[in-house]
């Protein structure tokens, strides 16, 4: 699976939009991009997954350009409770038989 690179940390204020970019230059045709959120002393929580263009759910949006070598997680109007570590992963299509490869993630700190 392709290696991902994302910023180590980001700071924001309540009410702002946060965009976290991830690069995955060696992504393969059968790979998805998946984002997880993790709060301290809790397990990661699935946020969003996409293959190309744009995906939106009630929590976030995921933008993937045509070459799929990068992706951007967008969190609209963040609140203090969005302070967490966000992981960008490349995952296989249509199978639960996969080992998730986590990097060190992006630590997002939201301040009042």
């Amino acid at each position: 699976l392709a290696k991902t690179t994302q910023p180590i940390s980001m700071d924001s204020y309540e009410g702002q939009e946060v965009n976290i970019t991830c690069s995955h230059n060696n992504i393969a045709t059968n790979d998805y991009i998946t984002w997880y959120q993790q709060f301290p002393s809790q397990g990661p929580r699935f946020i969003i997954q996409g293959y190309k263009t744009k995906v939106t759910n009630e929590v976030a949006s995921l933008f993937i350009p045509a070459d799929r070598k990068s992706s951007t997680l967008s969190l609209p109007r963040v609140s203090l409770s969005d302070t967490a570590v966000y992981y960008c992963l490349v995952t296989l299509m249509n199978t639960g038989f996969q080992k998730l490869v986590f990097g060190t993630g992006t630590r997002l700190l939201v301040s009042p």
């Binding site: 397990g43 699935f46 639960g96 996969q98 080992k99 993630g105």
Partner: protein, 114 residues
């Protein structure tokens, strides 16, 4: 619908001892994976169980072993504990085959080896 549950939540063991951690997967899931997360790091894959067999394994020594039961629940066993085994141990469940394959994680077991 209960999600993934792990027990115990916290555990303190002495070097050289053995430990067993338990996981019940999300309802309807048949695949269980275990991860180790050291402080400040992302989770690292230990192994995965499906149909009561170890399906794939990460780069962990044989001191780490597991089991899956017919009801899909799973155990992680670690023998001859080292100080470096102190970590948050996470269990994730998924549906092995199908379109919706995202993994759901439990809250984890915090293991401290002294």
């Amino acid at each position: 619908d209960a999600g993934v549950t792990q027990s115990p939540t916290h555990l303190i063991k002495t070097r050289g001892q053995q430990v067993t951690l338990r996981c019940s997967p999300k309802s309807g899931h048949d695949t269980v994976s275990w991860y180790q997360q050291a402080l400040g790091q992302g989770p690292q894959f230990i192994f995965q169980y499906y149909e009561e067999e170890e399906r794939q394994r990460g780069n962990f020594p044989d001191r780490f072993s597991g089991h899956q039961f017919p009801n899909y629940s799973s155990e992680l066993n670690v023998n001859a504990l080292l100080l470096g085994d102190s970590a948050l141990y996470l269990c994730a469940s998924s549906l092995g085959q199908g379109a919706h394959t995202e993994a759901f994680f439990g809250q984890g077991t915090r293991l401290t080896v002294v």
